[in-house]
Subunit: 349 residues, 3 copies
């Protein structure tokens, strides 16, 4: 029998099954530097120990999306190696700050199964959890993928669809954000004079700048996250594939959009939750990513006097500037749209 990992097929999953993923990872200052070098993020709390400490952190926390990518990467060999499509994610909450030196592990529980009518594939819903070396949960999210069956004649399981929120409730936000000492908030160093109260529902922000992506960059990123999904790395097989080229890890687009969003959302120092995301189209090397954001809600948090929450939908495009806010149309999306991400950020009040 082969000793290589064939990945799990649809019939390998069962409701309630718990999978402990391989390759725990100690995240370090080296990972932080690479993350900065890959996206150029300028959010100051994640850049300066001195500033982070002035605000109440013990040191610079890791960028939230770096935590997401590391945990996500661990789930790939078990959950999505035979995935036909990543269908979505929901109820993603950051639950504890992560610091250099912490070791992240990941576990997934199967929470839904539904065979497709073609009998060849099915949808698997998992709840994945990232924990640190003290068994504190740092990240928790639901995700569903379409997975091939090994044997099309295998019987279909009873369909189970989990109940997932469209939007993370505001009273669930902020667990990964220590109490912020607002005296330490220095608008010059933060790079934005705008705080929670300056943003309004319905406000749209073109983040202006564009970033072109190279093959070496997205592969360096996905390997940093130890994400082994084959489509990102193998030009020899992808040349024969649907697109003729390597597909960039969707999380790379999210991190680019988050970094670009600094220009207009510079005070949004923490991503507290991701409500959902849609990778509308794949991104390929050579493409230039732009993005814009709409403020969907502004919520004063009952349990926090220091920070408020903005629900933001950021739309990223490829080779299309965002001064005209290209996005969802009655049918589909405007040309060039590659990502729609719905998430909560925290800002000082």
């Amino acid at each position: 029998m082969s000793k290589t990992n064939p990945g799990n097929f649809f019939e390998d999953f069962s409701i309630g099954q718990v999978i402990r993923h391989a390759t725990p990872r100690t995240v370090t200052e080296g990972d932080v530097s690479l993350y900065t070098a890959l996206y150029g993020s300028r959010f100051a709390v994640q850049s300066s120990d001195a500033l982070a400490m002035a605000l109440g952190y013990p040191q610079v926390p890791l960028d939230d999306m770096l935590v997401f990518h590391v945990v996500f990467g661990k789930t790939v060999p078990d959950i999505s190696l035979n995935a036909v499509a990543n269908l979505g994610y929901a109820d993603c909450r950051f639950l504890a700050p992560v610091y250099p030196g912490d070791t992240l592990s990941a576990t997934s529980k199967v929470i839904g199964l539904k065979e497709n009518s073609n009998g060849a594939t099915g949808v698997v819903y998992v709840r994945s959890t990232g924990t640190n070396q003290n068994d504190e949960v740092v990240l928790d999210y639901a995700r569903w993928v379409m997975v091939r069956k090994r044997d099309v004649t295998a019987p279909a399981p009873d369909p189970v669809a989990p109940d997932l929120p469209t939007v993370v409730a505001p009273d669930m936000l902020g667990a990964a954000c220590p109490p912020i000492e607002l005296d330490g908030w220095d608008a010059d160093l933060i790079g934005s004079p705008y705080r929670f109260g300056h943003y309004s529902r319905g406000e749209r922000i073109d983040h202006v700048d564009g970033m072109t992506v190279e093959e070496a960059e997205h592969m360096i990123a996905a390997r940093l996250y130890q994400n082994p999904a084959k489509v990102h790395f193998n030009q020899h097989t992808e040349a024969e594939g649907r697109f003729g080229k390597r597909i960039i890890y969707g999380g790379h687009v999210i991190s680019l959009a988050r970094a670009l969003s600094f220009n207009g959302l510079g005070s949004a120092f923490h991503v507290a939750a991701i409500n959902g995301g849609r990778h509308v189209a794949p991104l390929f090397a050579g493409g230039t990513v732009y993005c814009w954001s709409e403020i969907k809600e502004t919520v004063v948090l009952d349990h926090r006097s220091d920070v408020g929450a903005l629900r933001v939908v950021t739309t990223a495009t490829c080779d299309v500037p965002c001064s005209e806010y290209p996005g969802k149309l009655d049918k589909g999306y405007a040309d060039g749209v590659i990502l729609e991400l719905d998430y909560w950020v925290l800002m000082p009040r």
Copy 2:
């Protein structure tokens, strides 16, 4: 009103104005590794804790040019986002060593203003200062850029031109260099048998080796420095621009030249000051950088018995080897010259 940063225009600057730049940065061992990986520098003092400590440093100091790039990067959003051209820099002095764990902040003061006769642009002179978390100044330099006016009808300010030295005076050198314990100087480990006394005024050194630059590399570098200048990153707009392609950050060329100069200047363990620099032509990805140096002065420092100072002019080229020392001509520069950098290095006596 838009919340994105439009940058400052010529009429936004006034003499004596002080700008505190955003995004302080804790520099780490991760940054050091990336810097090594981007340029391949082999200067041993910046490579080995054991050697650095034998010479009197408490640990490996950061490469001087890494410090420069981080501080410079912070000034870009406020000073040069609307720059038409980077005209020059002068009187750049390294004033304290920087170690992993230090947090760098940057401030600039406007020291000169001169509207151009076209009424559409003007020259802004600033003195920029990098400080660490203890408010010690680690770097100080003057820089002037040509900046667009927002409104061509805005009145011209009284012209003020700062008095800047052509060459940093030798007695100002060495503040960032601790007393060097010459017993710890090990020529084998340093990689060069030559010390201060072996170099002569007028001596020319072809650094022999060439380094080809890729798009991914210079973008990774500029993002590591959190330098958001648009021309480095956006192929979608640069394709329509003057050159049809992304322009490599000038500091990337400086760091390549400094790393290549190890072959011939291996004992020049510290850049003490930069007298001035001229980016004669832009560099683009795919180009191969070569360089050569001329020793302009050799100065025994009255205040230091351990080290002497060499004033070096390094000329970098693209796709032109330097065995014939291509450089300044009566009119302009020889074909292929991209950089002329005039600086002081320290060497053990």
Copy 3:
């Protein structure tokens, strides 16, 4: 006289000569992150402090091949700058674990010399040793290269050929591996249910996955190792060379193959020794590396009850999947083969 390093020519070497190489290097967490980002290795012992500590390491050790590349890189300026060909290496043993913060130095001793019959070149055999800041030897290996003569009329030295083992003796293995606490071995986290006893002599494993290499990646790697061999970096001269393009450092292929071999050899947490290696053909950017392994021997170690040793021969290819185990033929190698590496790994019993 030029101050640049011309490298050593054949007649510069003499039997018994000891060369202390330049640029000692403190390896850090930054180097570890870059190594992960370049190869995507998922061996858990090198990824997680928590897991490494559960097994008896004080912290995550550096990947063995990273140690090799750093030590090897130091030898290049003195040993192989004028090399026509890297002919082979043997008897390579990892003798102590290396941790972030350690400073590595390298020394080589000339152990063999043999002028070629053409009188223009000769073979130089060296034994190279890497030591840490406490003068403990961490790595030791023999290597032989074909080096040009400076002067073809220089007299030939008496030929000396060192006696080198084809295979490192099993009782020499394991010095860099602390006693492993098998209670801490967690197959889920390791990512493989297979241990020493599951592997059989003659077993073949296709490692399935392929990795395409970009110019930026292999140059970043070689610079990280401070390996200044010109052929990796200079497209301007290589365009006129034998291949018309830059040649990828052979060690880059080894590290790619080692990382890919996780899929099938996930429990092989430590490379204890390299018996020999053959770079059958050069690799160029754009190529996709695949590999497969054959288990040559399975050896219970008399001196260790915790781990056993597998002698593995891994064959890497370019643009050829390995499901049919392409390798050595009666005459030469199958098309696409670029590397054959014979080495010992340790696995828990």
